[in-house]
Symmetry: C2
Subunit: 388 residues, 2 copies
Amino acid sequence: MLNFEFYNPTHIVFGKKTETQVGDMVKQYGGRRVLLHYGGGSIKKYGLYDSIIKSLEASGVEYIELSGVKPNPRLSLVREGIRMCREQGADFILAVGGGSVIDSAKAIATGTPYGGDVWDFYQGMAEAETVLPVGVVLTIPAAGSESSTGSVITNEEGWYKRAYNSLLLRPRFAILNPELSYTLPPFQTAAGAADIMAHVMERYFTDVTHVDLTDRLCESTLRTVIKYVPIALMEPENYDARAEIMWAGTIAHNDLLATGRIGDWASHGIEHELSAVYDVAHGAGLAVVFPAWMKYVYAHNLDRFVQFAVRVFDVEYDFSDPERTALQGIERLREYFKSTGLAVTLKDLDIGDDRLEEMARKCAEDGPVGNFVKLGEKDVWEIYRLAK
Amino acid sequence: MLNFEFYNPTHIVFGKKTETQVGDMVKQYGGRRVLLHYGGGSIKKYGLYDSIIKSLEASGVEYIELSGVKPNPRLSLVREGIRMCREQGADFILAVGGGSVIDSAKAIATGTPYGGDVWDFYQGMAEAETVLPVGVVLTIPAAGSESSTGSVITNEEGWYKRAYNSLLLRPRFAILNPELSYTLPPFQTAAGAADIMAHVMERYFTDVTHVDLTDRLCESTLRTVIKYVPIALMEPENYDARAEIMWAGTIAHNDLLATGRIGDWASHGIEHELSAVYDVAHGAGLAVVFPAWMKYVYAHNLDRFVQFAVRVFDVEYDFSDPERTALQGIERLREYFKSTGLAVTLKDLDIGDDRLEEMARKCAEDGPVGNFVKLGEKDVWEIYRLAK
């Protein structure tokens, strides 16, 4: 186990009807004039918008609005949000939506008090010293951004998708009402779950030894998602299934599962290129990339993949052939993604061969990706080919 | 799953040599003049005291000292600490030790800015509005007080042992260096582990349904402790074993495992009377009380005890006789405690029959204890008798 720090002060408010507390939560964390940030019309369609406005007004919190966040949130909208916050004096960003909205809100929160251009942070050219506080009402369990340190933004000039991480970016509060995920289409439920699982697996595959407790916490989180996603797909309004998935999504990415270990994160990088070039939903891309990555690297640390197979997917340990056990685990994961309706090959995503080299080059242009196995451009290309 | 809030802003600094950061941590969290609070001579014997003083001085933090905290920390010393803080203007309490020291520090932190007597809080007659900040350097993994909301103090006038809980009591930071637990005698290692396990089990045994994720997180934490305590007992300087136990001890009691469920806590109450009357170490008392409590209540929710047996102790599920499976789980827990050198009967603790009724009466004098099964005086007495 490695030395670590763990500090996650995001105040979680979880359960039925909790979105009605949003005005009070904003006020408790110092917001007087919020930028209400969201995506498209779905929050209006299902009454969430009204409920939030009512709560803000009841608490005497002023608000301005910026909607239109798309999956793979765009830098141009972030810049617009920053302009609005500066011109209209917002002191708090309230994100209502999933990971894209939250990431966009975090970028606005980072860029508003900064003298230069917000993209500097995503290029590793600046470090935030102060940010506006962010609060969240979560509607999609997936990205874990509701209590994470990260934000991923896509720059349309060149379609670069890049991340910025800072302890300052953990939201002050996150309201998690599983009922708000009832209306998610099956695809978003499944893709979100793939994202949650990927957050755990990126941390699970490590060469750091003696991380038994966090291994088991990871396995617990994976097993929970694996159990409840099929239930949520069959019964979209099953509160308990939605609740297990939503809480798992937060725990998967609040850094508890990272304590004392080094994560890999190559698959995220490899997927980001897919999302940037083909505008694939992040979780859907991960369902294709992760099993391919696993096949490419499993021999590096066979024991870890055997443990994954046995403990996460109940593969019977083949004492005479551990490699077979490991490969069965990878196959079970693929089958599982498939059973939830996700594509598991690039072909299923209608993605051909023509830009694989370009994506591999962009993915590795700042040096090798991943920690478990360091992958150069050629390795990434091989993984895309395994995913065909 | 029930609605819940989860807010744990304790900043964890975990790993080798981390106690050398204590001065900077105190300063980061606003301490300028600390009350350094600790137990007996062990922190001086092994060099920890010197290392802390050096770090405080290097960071320009002033300090006053109050040592002498005993297991089952006493109200009289708390009152002395409060006097010292008021008279000498301490603005931060630094606890160096295990749960007793931390609980005592929390009581001092609560009582110092309060107009009345600090025991008011422990009698449920006052609610803290402000407390002095507390920081921790942990030496004994057991109580989980390093990031919990609780403090348990013993009032020598009548030997009442009572708890006070407040979100304000979570320490600002906790420094966890597993090396500091190398010198723990086997008894303290084992008793501490029993305390950790009890914190998990108090939450595990609940009638709240659909708490699958937290069930699994509980099981993960228990399995980790069960695996590593025998290793730490055989190899006291095995860093990895000490590290797994120490981190498990914090997670067991930081409230993550409580999310969405109602804990029981009867066993803690039943044990507190033992500690108060016979000055038994809390963990050692729990190793006697918990299996007895289980035997008394298991029929109330057999499934839960079967799950415990199968998932925590790998008892083979007897499809034709689940009750037998459940009982085997309880027996395995007893055997496990015994294998770590702990007493599992009152007799082994040299405790006779003569005060069982008195303890049962005191335990239930404010009404029934426990949530899983509500226990009155007679039930508590039966549990003491089962523990004979």
